[in-house]
Symmetry: C3
Subunit: 141 residues, 3 copies
């Protein structure tokens, strides 16, 4: 049993889902570990992680529309707006989704279903550089 | 330190919570591991995993009513409806709950509290067959 | 590779976020493990765990206001009210946030970002004593 970890950097250009499935899979393969547990952890409070449908782009747009209705930017309910109208809504969206994901690795493959993609979910308007820690604990066979 | 994994299949007959606590516990006991970390991962984007109160059936009905109000089937907000009125709402409900759960195993027992049950949360109307990966990493004593 | 676990007890006095970052970090350091995976698990169905912004106290108040609007106490939608108006809303809030968190430990430090604090999120009005299981799996170097 051994472990590996690395930081994945994701540059974002506004709200929405940024797929990281390929980058995560490639890194996991490179560790030579074949069975174990992969954990992703985002080091921010205004971005999150999500597993979502990866086939129809309309899913991602609908998801963003849903969250825009549920947690509107500039909502007068919020007092914390040091960084603008999207500041507090970003924290709430992060609370409603996830900051970490754990995915079993079996036989050299992530246990993702056919339609599951792994996404960084950006909640701010502006350009951001996000860090996701990838951690894998397991065995080579 | 060693690990074990297996797929649990859950047949569902419409929206709602399906308890899997017993099946998960039985599998964990069968591995002979007594201390470690159990991870459950659902391989779908229209079903999720949830730990909820296991005593009063009204809790599960209330939860379903809440999600039906928050993410209504057939909501005109959504464009992705290839598989019907419950298609996109199912993805949103999955995003608002979890696709994975991690529960410590200590002294041969899952660390669940007295009132905590583990559930597969089905978000589609029709019959489905769902796969949950069970992964356990730990030691025999 | 080895593991450690311990129960953290948190006394709460009403709804809101209770920071546990310091207590968790102190325990992790005491295990002498330096690289691995930390998992926190709350053994209740009316409290949850959350990673949130730790700088401006207004964030925590805004978060509580958001959840009070989304899942109001005494909502006539709910039938399960054995323990009062905040009973079922507490279960829903727990479902919308997390019962477990996993955070990589690298080089003796939790991989938390600068603005990330770890909180127990209490959803009941009255005084409660909450148990959080801390589990760490890793290596000393």
């Amino acid at each position: 049993m051994r472990q590996a970890h690395q930081t994945l950097t994701v540059d974002t250009r506004g709200k929405g889902l940024y797929e990281i499935t390929g980058a995560v899979r490639q890194w996991a393969l490179g560790t030579a570990l074949r069975n174990g547990l992969l954990t992703l952890f985002v080091r921010h409070t205004s971005a999150s992680l999500l597993i979502q449908e990866n086939a129809d782009p309309a899913v991602q747009q609908d998801l963003e529309r849903f969250f825009s209705r549920l947690v509107p930017d500039g909502d007068p309910l919020f007092r914390h707006r040091q960084e603008g109208a999207d500041d507090m809504p970003a924290h709430v969206r992060a609370a409603l989704t996830q900051v970490h994901l754990s995915i079993p690795l079996t036989g050299g493959e992530l246990a993702l279903g056919t339609w599951q993609g792994v996404y960084l979910y950006e909640h701010r308007f502006g350009r951001q550089t996000r860090q996701v820690i990838m951690h894998l604990l397991g065995e080579e066979d």
